[in-house]
């Protein structure tokens, strides 16, 4: 499968628009489903997983996932290609590191993707820009219903949709929002958000999900509970909590400005200057300065930065993206040089 169309641009969810885009990068909904009559993917025989992959590839070609659509056979794909898909949030790290028959189908606008044979047979994911949980939910559920017409999902009256892990059972729904919270981090208030979130049954993770470090001051907040609440209630629990986090971040941004506008402007302009002139940039440095520039943009300190390009850089400067663009494997030093050059050419 040729993914080179995707090298230079990103999914529409990074376009930097939509409701509350000054804090909310994107909204995501994921549905876990399993085929009735099969063991779960983690216990199925290799030939059973092969059967499921083949069947799902065919079924998915019959439903529209986007303007055009891709299928990537992950058992055949090269390591660089699967890493690339992880960096783009099209597949999970679990699917990347999995073994045997498995794959992913996604639309060219990268709004919808369907992973096959991760921990569950089917994982439908929808990502939208800004605060748009309802839209993301609608897109995911439409795909879910389209698939339902052709297959029977494992479900029971008591436990709802049955999943390999009991933490997903019931609705199989994981809803999350990706937030940019630089002021809360800077004023060391982010821990309070974690605590408040966990008290309301939500969890906080880094940019690349479970177990990853938050970099670029980017955080994902998602529901923890999937059983005993309706889908609407779960989406509502996130929507209720979010305005409070947004307000808190806004308050901290105002606080930063009032404490010393000059200091803030200095930090933001320095970050942009480094990104525009550095000859080598580590991944961590890039994320950190991109975060400052993004803050500068939304606080209207910087006026000539394109928000979409900026958002996309968070993804396009990741290791596999740089290597794919270069068409070969690069060692870390080479990557830092390529990263700096790419950022310079983007932020002219």
């Amino acid at each position: 499968m040729d993914l080179s169309d995707l090298d230079h641009r990103c999914g529409e969810w990074l376009r930097g628009e939509g409701t509350s885009a000054h804090v909310v990068i994107s909204s995501r909904v994921r549905l876990a489903r399993n085929l009735a009559g099969y063991p779960f993917a983690t216990r199925a025989e290799e030939d059973q997983r092969g059967e499921i992959t083949l069947r799902m590839r065919e079924e998915l070609s019959g439903i529209a996932l986007g303007p055009r659509q891709y299928w990537v056979d992950l058992a055949q794909a090269e390591k660089l290609e699967t890493r690339f898909l992880v960096e783009r949030h099209l597949i999970s790290r679990e699917l990347e590191s999995g073994r045997g028959p498995r794959g992913v189908a996604f639309g060219s606008d990268e709004i919808l993707s369907v992973m096959i044979n991760e921990e569950d047979h089917i994982r439908i994911q929808s990502i939208r820009a800004g605060l748009a949980l309802e839209e993301a939910w609608q897109r995911a559920v439409r795909a879910d219903r389209a698939l339902e017409k052709h297959m029977e999902f494992a479900a029971s009256n008591q436990f709802g949709y049955l999943t390999a892990c009991p933490t997903n059972v019931g609705t199989g729904l994981r809803a999350s929002v990706m937030l940019h919270l630089p002021a809360l981090v800077h004023l060391k208030q982010i821990e309070k958000v974690f605590h408040a979130a966990s008290r309301t049954g939500l969890t906080v993770r880094g940019f690349y999900g479970e177990g990853t470090m938050a970099s670029g001051d980017l955080y994902q907040i998602s529901n923890q509970i999937t059983l005993g609440h309706t889908e609407e209630e779960i989406l509502q629990s996130l929507s209720t909590m979010l305005p409070r986090i947004l307000e808190y971040e806004e308050m901290c941004r105002a606080e930063l400005a009032s404490r010393g506008q000059l200091k803030l402007e200095d930090k933001v302009h320095r970050a942009l200057a480094i990104l525009r002139s550095a000859r080598t940039l580590t991944s961590e440095e890039a994320m950190q300065y991109l975060s400052s520039v993004r803050l500068g943009h939304v606080m209207e300190i910087l006026k000539d930065v394109d928000i979409r390009s900026l958002n996309e850089l968070f993804v396009l400067t990741q290791p596999a993206h740089l290597q794919k663009l270069e068409g070969r494997a690069l060692d870390p030093d080479e990557r830092d040089i390529r990263r700096a050059a790419f950022v310079r050419s983007t932020l002219v």
């Binding site: 479900a155 436990f159 390999a164 009991p166 005993g228």
Partner: protein, 174 residues
């Protein structure tokens, strides 16, 4: 419904039922009158605290850890170690010991959201039959019993096509 059998002798129907809740885990013991008398347990007498330990030592297969799914072969103990179930049937087989765990994770034990195709109930009989056939297929291939394997394959095929037909018609109803 078939009556529950005595967990000691495994022959007589159990008429005496004990429940113990320890460290949030509920354990049940079902025994027949004969065995109860033999162990010195009257139907109204107090339950010696040793009884459950006795059960574990004697007939281990009757404790939660050794509870086994006949479809995929996973035991509850294995599930506890891995944190992943083996097949959809496990939710039925392990419903009892799983309860406290679901309570801990979700604060609930039952689903209130959507079901497939807007149905108000799910019939798992056909899916369950399929799971059993796939298990039998695996066993017969392993035993190099290819005649059986071919027959089971045909059966799976016809069952599957009836299942996708019902899936399609279910959508029209919804």
């Amino acid at each position: 419904m078939t009556p529950m059998l005595c967990q000691f002798c495994g022959k007589n129907p159990a008429t005496i039922h004990f429940t113990e809740i320890k460290e949030e885990v509920k354990r049940e013991l079902h025994i027949c009158e004969e065995c109860a008398n033999e162990k010195g347990l009257g139907s109204t007498g107090p339950l010696p605290p040793m009884l459950f330990e006795l059960m574990q030592g004697g007939r281990r297969e009757s404790t939660d850890e050794d509870l086994k799914c006949p479809r995929c072969g996973i035991t509850f103990g294995e599930f506890r170690t891995k944190g992943r179930f083996g097949c959809p049937h496990d939710y039925e087989i392990f419903a009892e010991p799983m309860g406290p765990l679901l309570e801990k994770i979700h604060g609930a034990r039952s689903h209130t959201g959507r079901l497939p195709r807007g149905r108000t109930s799910v019939d798992t009989a056909v899916a369950d039959h399929l799971l059993r056939l796939r298990r039998e297929l695996k066993d017969s291939v392993r035993a190099e019993n290819y005649e059986d394997a071919a027959r089971i394959r045909d059966e799976i095929k016809s069952l599957e096509s009836s299942m996708s037909e019902s899936a399609a018609s279910g959508t029209e109803d919804a």
